[in-house]
């Protein structure tokens, strides 16, 4: 009974947390899009700054990671190709990089770099009474702080994931090139043929929602700070843990649903 009670309490608190999170996002969008007294140019400048910090500045680490991942995946798939035939390599690379590794690794990197930064930045803003100052100037904190970070973060995650996939596939080609004399054009045509509409859907679904989850959770945790500086590391850690859990869970659910759909399509499941 106590176990059930604990599970129930935990579930209710998770539901409440999620409801509050969505409420914050709703208010931030409503305040930005329907609040007529403010100018949008300030908000656009914050969005572009967010894209710069989250997207542009993460390019070096993403490049290294993507090159390495693509090379490793291709090295593994080459060994499998000797068993199952070379035709499986391109679909395998696409499936692993575009659908699975790309969205997940990019999300983890963004959580580590930007999720922590946003949570601690907002926490410090709360401590320094900057949010109160914004409010006193008639600047809606959610439209000025949450909305641009959310939108900028989502755009950044999608762009980073696309960049990750491109570099990872090139890393894969480098491994192929070391072993065989396959021309780049042929390799690319194989990849293009292997990409399906499902891949695009999964790619955009996973990355858009990963960005949404990371930045909404980070903003929410940062704004939850009650006013003492010693809580900043705590809210930052909480933001990271919750973002990782939610992103991984979301990716897992999408993957399972996709493969269930595939199994249904081929008549394995009825």
């Amino acid at each position: 009974m106590s176990f059930l009670s604990a599970v129930g309490t935990r579930s209710l608190s998770m539901l409440e947390y999620t409801a509050n999170l969505y409420l914050m996002v709703y208010v931030s969008f409503r305040a930005t899009l329907f609040h007529q007294t403010q100018g949008l140019r300030t908000i656009f400048s914050v969005i572009s700054a967010q894209i710069y910090f989250t997207g542009f500045q993460a390019l070096p680490i993403i490049s290294v990671l993507a090159l390495g991942s693509g090379a490793v995946v291709m090295a593994q798939s080459q060994s499998q190709a000797s068993i199952f035939g070379a035709s499986v390599v391109a679909p395998f690379l696409i499936a692993v990089v575009v659908r699975e590794i790309g969205p997940l690794l990019v999300a983890l990197i963004v959580i580590a770099r930007s999720g922590t930064a946003v949570a601690s930045e907002l926490g410090n803003m709360k401590v320094n009474r900057e949010i109160e100052a914004l409010e006193s100037m008639g600047i809606h904190p959610y439209s000025f702080i949450v909305f641009p970070r959310l939108v900028g973060g989502m755009i950044s995650v999608i762009c980073l994931a696309a960049y990750f996939c491109a570099v990872a596939l090139m890393g894969g080609y480098l491994i192929v090139r070391l072993q065989t004399q396959v021309p780049l054009q042929y390799f690319l045509s194989q990849l293009v043929n292997a990409i399906s509409m499902d891949d695009y859907i999964i790619f955009f679904l996973k990355n858009t929602f990963s960005g949404f989850i990371i930045f909404s959770v980070s903003c929410f945790q940062g704004l939850q700070l009650s006013g003492s500086a010693h809580e900043v590391p705590q809210v930052t850690t909480r933001a990271v843990v919750r973002s990782v859990v939610y992103v991984v869970s979301f990716n897992l659910i999408v993957t399972i649903l996709f493969y269930l759909k595939t199994l249904l399509k081929f008549g394995v499941l009825r």
């Binding site: 900057e130 008639g138 809606h140």
Partner: protein, 307 residues
Amino acid sequence: MTEPSSGVLAFKAKEKCFLGYGPLSVEREEIQTLSLRVADVSGKESNSNSKSVSGSASGLVSNSNSNSNSNSNSNSNSNSNSPSQTPSFQETGEFLHRFGASLLSCGRMLIYSGSVASGKSHLLRALASLSLDERFDVLYNGKDTKTLSFEEFQPLRLNIGFASVRGGLLVNRTLRDNLLLPLRYHRIEEDLGQKIVDNALLEFEFQKFQNRLPAYLPFEVIHLASILRALLLQPQVVILDEPWAGLEKDSVKQLLQLLTAYQQFKSDCLFVASSKPQDVPKEIVAEKFQIALQSQATLSKVLKDAS
């Protein structure tokens, strides 16, 4: 929006300009009355025991249950004797009483003078609708701030300036960007905003600091800049939390000059400030402003401490 008068900076207030410019066209609601309604001891508002104390930026005073000095005294006593109130709030209660008893007419400065942790900042934040307190309601033009959403309160909020003792400058923006922020956000023309900020920086000789982040600014600059920022949108009610705390004499003089200029520019403005008694500059009580304090004894104490 009136045309800028060339070369006229902040303190030439006779020409009805502030920081070189006339009134800004910002969509907002004029504040006619500012009232505090104190809840009953039990926290519930009741007509018999609650008191509504009001001030008006335009010089009119409207007390909903006709507070005179005498009945305010009794209210204050009942308030401060309440067992449910913390000791620190007793002084706040006294302040509310003073607030109600004092005529808040054009261009006056109301100073809430109290000791450390007496609730000064809390009350001022409540007046600026930045915090809520169940023990009292803040009403602007008869509207209870507790019942208004951010958007609903916005037209009134744009007529309220607030500067906290911590400054509240955004740490990731330069001093110049911090000053420009409210002007940009509220769609003041970019050129006009830039000129206003130029004049403000020039007036305080802050040009050399303009591209620095707050972390690299002296305390006095941060403090004065936050007050300056609160005035840039030309609000009617200016709420200043310990405006001269920690400032040196020259900076206090500069600040008083700025407030004087603002008072002359905006004749219906109302300053509400908090301060420790010993921090109140003697210039204020001498001639620049009239302090709206009910008790002569308290005023004498302020005068004595200030001198």
